[in-house]
């Protein structure tokens, strides 16, 4: 009797497990497992260095915020089977635009102008990709250079100070209770992204388009508009990340975000988003960004040289991505672009 109950429980468990792995369910959770394990390892080994101290955790959160915001946007670009390589230079340009506009028109219009720049960049990326039919990889590689050049010209490679208390408080230095405004903004972006992906028709259509554009078109979806909108979302998110960086550092500068592209892509892919479209996770992307920030922070606290940090980070990223991607045998047909 007892044995029987045990056996059926075992069968149920096995069924749940196989069901899950068939859906790619297990791999979806790899990012959270990785997060917890890396947190645990650092917490133990860096206990004396105060890894778990409130101030250090807050630091990690503040580091992660712009990456997380960019990652949410990138998740949508990848979900639609596009990619946006121009996010780094979009961050820089929008930080400069914010700095210029804040000076004359205040914090609200400063942030609005920066995000508007992002929307325009996304629209240009999207239009060229869709109308001229050039892969977004190449389009955004081109705009990456163009935007970066414009940003460099804007203030002759000088950083532009932002002296506006409201802007700094709202988008950087300020906090609500013990929680940094950066973390709050990240939470807002996370909720919006998650909601759009799972509860709006648009999110579902982005996934359908990314999974199989021909089928999506045959079902009557306007795949051109959907791909464009995904690229706009990515650029707008990047420009908002630019606002957050400008707020945190109280400057606009031509090289802000310049090195973030690969970190963002790693964060998104570790989070369970397919590089080839059709599968995305906003929660995973944010967690991936937290992992990246945690690695950065932990490896520095460990006292590793910069060179060794790069190597260690690279190894951990490859491991995590390997675990979170489906194996080729599982991906019959649906990971093919």
């Amino acid at each position: 009797m007892r044995f029987h109950a045990l056996a059926s429980a075992g069968a149920r468990l096995r069924r749940a497990w196989t069901n899950q792995s068939e859906d790619g369910g297990f791999r979806q959770y790899v990012v959270y497992l990785a997060f917890v394990s890396i947190l645990a390892v650092f917490a133990l080994t860096l206990w004396d260095d105060g890894f778990l101290s409130w101030s250090n955790l807050l630091n990690i959160g503040r580091q992660a915020a712009p990456i997380a915001v960019m990652a949410v946007g990138m998740a949508f670009a990848l979900a639609s089977a596009e990619i946006d390589l121009s996010i780094g230079s979009t961050v820089a340009l929008s930080s400069l635009v914010a700095a210029v506009v804040v000076g004359d028109y205040g914090f609200f219009f400063g942030a609005l102008a920066a995000v508007g720049v992002g929307a325009v960049i996304g629209l240009v990326n999207g239009l060229i990709t869709v109308k001229v039919r050039i892969p977004s990889f190449l389009v955004t590689l081109g705009t990456l250079g163009i935007i970066s050049g414009i940003a460099r010209n804007m203030n002759n490679l000088q950083s532009m100070p932002i002296r506006n208390d409201a802007f700094s408080a709202l988008f950087g230095a300020g906090s609500l209770g013990p929680i940094s405004s950066l973390v709050i903004w990240t939470a807002v972006v996370f909720v919006l992204g998650h909601f759009a992906l799972h509860h709006l028709r648009w999110g579902r259509h982005v996934l359908a388009t990314g999974a199989n554009r021909a089928s999506a078109k045959a079902a009557g979806l306007n795949t051109d508009r959907i791909r464009m909108s995904a690229l706009v979302v990515s650029s707008v998110a990047a420009s908002f990340a630019g606002v957050l960086l400008a707020g945190r550092l109280a400057i606009g500068r031509h090289d802000l975000g310049e090195n973030d592209l690969l970190t963002v892509i790693a964060a998104v892919v570790i989070g369970g988003t397919s590089l080839f479209g059709g599968r995305a996770s906003v929660a995973g992307a944010v967690t991936g960004a937290l992992i990246m920030a945690m690695l950065n922070n932990g490896l520095i606290l460990m006292g590793l040289e910069v060179a060794d940090q790069l190597i260690a980070r690279g190894l951990i990223i490859i491991m995590a991505v390997a675990l979170s991607m489906r194996t080729p045998s599982e991906s019959v047909g649906d990971d093919v672009p």
Binding site: A218, L221, D334
Partner: protein, 255 residues
Amino acid sequence: MTAPALSVRNMSKAFRAVQALEDVSLDIRRGRVTALLGDNGAGKSTLVKCIAGVYQPDSGTVSIDGETHRISSPDVARMLGVETVHQNLSLIDSLNVVENLFLNREYTRGGSFGSRIGLLHKRRMSRECQATLARLGISIPSLRKPVGLLSGGQRQAIAIGRAVAWGQKIVLLDEPAAALGVEQAQRVLDLIVALRDADVAVLLITHNMDRVTQVCDDAVVLRRGRKAAEVKVDQVTKDDLVAFITGAKTTDTGT
């Protein structure tokens, strides 16, 4: 006789130098299953894609219930009541059963604001998906599974179920039973018969002559992009049909 549910007149379509369709006309009628036959490359799928709005024909017209329309996109075709089950374009593998059934027809909640932003009514879609599949006698183990993990028969049943679920009056099926097991293929044929009995006009592309004699009322044969024959199935033999397809025999259909 009333106007045919769908009639194609003088349709031509070329892909660069290849004339895929040349001056093809055909009618399909309510409550009847019309077979569209022809060898590989005869233009069957091209014709279906032109009717479904996936391709734009170079010339020719499509009339539905006697009214001529320009079917500029798959969306327009659907709005006019034409549903297509394409050979391999019908489902999105990574979406689940419910998501596929309602793709581009999602129910929204939250009133007019909800429908403007596209707020999905997931529970309602789940419920209606279950009801529809049950009504059609389609059993799928899990509606939450990505359809890429279902069997060929189940996938095809869902694709056809999608056409039926929306009460479309014209259904185009491109090789719906190819690559299916015997029993699964029979289930698909049963669905087609059910469609016909519900007074739907069905166009069925197939290579299988047994299926033609089993469920089809009319047959149109294409050969090298042109119409080679248009016959009533009960007035010809299987051998006649094969002869039309290979070009060993022709009728004067006088289009």
